[in-house]
Amino acid sequence: MFNIRCPWCGDRPEIEFSYGGDASRSRPDAPETLSDDAWHDYVFIRDNPAGPHAEYWQHTGGCRQWLRALRNTTTHEILATAAPGEPLPLSGERK
């Protein structure tokens, strides 16, 4: 029953969103240039942090925009959200 702040629509309940997976990494620009190991890492290997975790969500019950959210997996606190391409505040990443 938590809320997610859609960067466009504002605070909306979780039931309007669909989970879209780990957002701590982005798709490599040229997969064909990657080593097998690097590609395997990208496709299959996920961290399972107890704490802040960058995630993709899609506002499927709203504007259908994809967004990134920084969610504390132990408390469900949503620390920040951002449009794709925008830096995700508090996540430690740089633009």
């Binding site: 029953m1 809320n3 064909e32 590609w39 496709v43 299959f44 899609q58 469900h76 794709p84």
Partner: protein, 1002 residues
Amino acid sequence: MNGQPFRNAEGGIIDHDRSLGFTFNGRRHQGFAGDTLASALLASGVRRVARSFKYHRPRGIFAAGEEEPSALVQLRIGARTEPNVRATRVELFDGLVANSQNCWPSVDFDLGAGAAWVSRLMPPGFYYKTFKWPGLLWPAYEHVLRKLAGMGVAPRQADPDRYEHRFAHCDVLIVGGGPAGLSAAIAAGRAGARIIVADDGPEFGGSLAAEAGPIDGAPAREWAAVAVAELTAMPYVTLVRRASVFGYYDHNGLAISEHVADHLAEPLPFQPRQRLWMVRARQVVLATGATERSFVFADNDRPGIMLASAARTYANRFAVRAGRRCVVFTNNDSAYGAAADLAAAGIEVAAVIDARPGDPGPAAAKALGTGIERLAGHAVVATRGGGALTAVEVAPLNESGDSLGGSLRRFDCDLLCVSGGWNPAVQLHAQAQGRPVYDDTLAAFVPGPSVQAERSAGSAKGTFTLAGCLADGMEAGAEAARQAGFEAAETPPVPACEDEGEAAPMRALWSVPPPPGLRRKRFVDLQTDVTQADVELASREGYKSVEHLKRYTTLGMGTDQGRTGNVPGLAVLARSLGADIPQVGTTTFRPPYVPVTMATLAGREIGHHFQPVRRSAMHGWHETAGAAFVPAGLWLRPQFYARPGEGLWDAIYRETVAVRTSVGLCDVSTLGKIDIQGADSAEFLNRVYINAWSKLGIGRCRYGVMLREDGITLDDGTTSRLARNHYLMTTTTANAGAVMGHLEYFLQVVWPELDVHIISVTEEWAAIALAGPDSRKVLERLTDDIDVSNEALPFMGVREGTFAGVPGRLFRISFSGELAYEINVPADYGQHLWEAMLEAGKEFDITPYGTEALGILRTEKGHVVGGELNGRTTADDLGFGRMASSAKEFIGKRSLNRPGLTDENRKQLVGLVPADGKTAIPRGAQIVTDPDQALPNPMIGEVTSACYSPNLETPIGLGIVAAGRARMGETLYALSPMRGKRVAVTVTNPVFIDPEGERLRA
């Protein structure tokens, strides 16, 4: 007043002039408007109300509020009957019918009770210990036990009432409408905050209604009435009565069950019986009050033993004497006021037994006056009585509370009022991840630091004076408003209350030792019949964690969630372990805080409102035609159209043959349709499909396969080029939503630079497949602006034109393998076109066909659907390997050279026919090479689709089989051991009909 021997002629806040009749255990009684079932039963002199859960001991009314552990009744009869209802929470209505639970044949004479073997059978963990073996006998045990155990009966009929849900939003939610809650509401409301105040009673005021002293010189209830009037006049204030906040969830989401019509014999027309509120509050004030608790002593469960505050409530609020002669047993000052009120109500107070050796505080002493005997440093150690209390035994208690000194003294009484201290109601605070902390002075858990945006006020946080509760509430309400953005919120002045003086400290006393030689049950948890001996035994057996203890003994697992029993249970466990109570800690508090009916949680989502249904534009026609429907996701699709006298298979057979021999039409509106526009559309298609799209001409369509990033097939379908930068993609029905989200992800997140716009147009277009050798002839009668000849419109051609007067699109595609078309028109014209097609096809005996025929036709043609696109197959597994373009990148391509995906032993799509030409191939069967091999028999594949082919007149199937393409002609076995089936199958090409594709190009 003869019918109500325990009712005073005046007083209380009931309506003495409005008499209500009700029936309890078949006997007629009278009560008054404003009564609860419990107060009315007490007024009538009914003392034994229920039998206990495990031991079937007689139980009476123990409390006056939601904490009641004992007086659980079966309320109402018939479809509206409800088990485990607390008599203290039932508002009396005329004609109410209630019955005792857990007793057979009756509450006064119960076969289960008194029998010593019952008690011996039921030590803690008794199910684990006693009836574990032999398992086969369990049904026999169960049959006997069910009669003796259990908690009332569920209704057999469907619930006739309505249950509603509603979402709500507020700046401040105030839980509880007593002195602290109303004060908080006044403070937050005056600041202009949008507030919701929820109280579980029929009227706001809580203890102000009858138990509290004067405010500003007038009765407290008058102050409450003024406060409610002020709140009612505020436009942004919502007051919800009979509303229990039962759950505190993430992000300040709270759930309330509002008992809209439970106080009526039945709801008014269209009135919901209960309403579930799902509230999102910026700030929360928990003014949930506190619950009095009892002590553990021998036979502390007899009817007539009651919380002191409850007896006081019955006297003050309901003008009911809970007994004739009472003894008060306390360890704190609060019971003195209760004793005084009971005496004033006409109950003879025989003695006040105070566990504390010293004097009570001045206010308590003053309240008690001089006429009542008081024994300091004493405790009630045992009780007497048959069906109900007749006397108590009292003895001096030593300093540490673990042994008795001196001789026993007996007091005859029919009411024992107990006050072992107060537990602030910290449950919601704890559900909100707060950690209650143990307060030595109060001998209770009080709210700890808050994690969510909540604060407690009043007795919920351990403030027990009236002035303190009012001040607390005012401050909490103002603070909550400020935190919610109303920065100017001020704390209103606290009205004047009587000076209650300093209370004398309480004495932490949990359990009173029994008199020497007396072996009687000493209950910790009245509802689940858990005794001190049970807790001690469990602790000796190693259940040292409070969470384990709870589950092993069932302590606190009743419908009251251990409201009165938990803390004493913790104390007993702590002492048994030689630990402190804070070391033992509490169990985790979880919703629901109070019992909630399943119907309230379900709300409207029952019957045909259980989930929404998606219907195509032709649905009405299908219904009229008598189609059987099958769900496909949320869609309902026609499965087949049986004619009168026709069986299921007859219809399917007829529909299938019609498509192969003449012409059929099928509603395919459910396929996903995605409109793709923009300068980079072809590039986008190149990236999402494995095959190439740059050279697809306008007016042409192509079959495409798309992969997930891990190389596994996601979906397939045709995509048409409608204009230079305009495409229409189709997806399978099942994957339409997933494909849309997948494409949006790549466009919004990965390739935002692409000039591509996509939108689902599934719902815009009604889609009708027209299939069969005569389909072109039908089409010719439908359109006059498209040349549909084979030369002008070859296979995989696309045209826009007019069909039966409606502009639409025509696709020459085939799922069945026959000459076939698909026509799309705006859905508002779908039924018109469908009917026009039937008319146009009359002379060819055009036949509507459903999903069953569709499935057979595609299986005959070797087309893959969900069974084959099962999330484990690659494009190559399904025979599409050569479609993958080596000249471009596409999603999933990088994974295709992973060793697991290139293994030549991967399971590949094959056709299967029975070796004997006639035995049906079991759907879902495992495929093995040698059916007689020792188990576990290596499974080299599985049957993914199977049917009888009316056109080949033999059973056929599709399967995925290890290295299947190299096994053509091989004989394998399809095994379905659960169904006892074993069929020899021959591996074939998966395309059974017209493998060269001559028909669809005709």
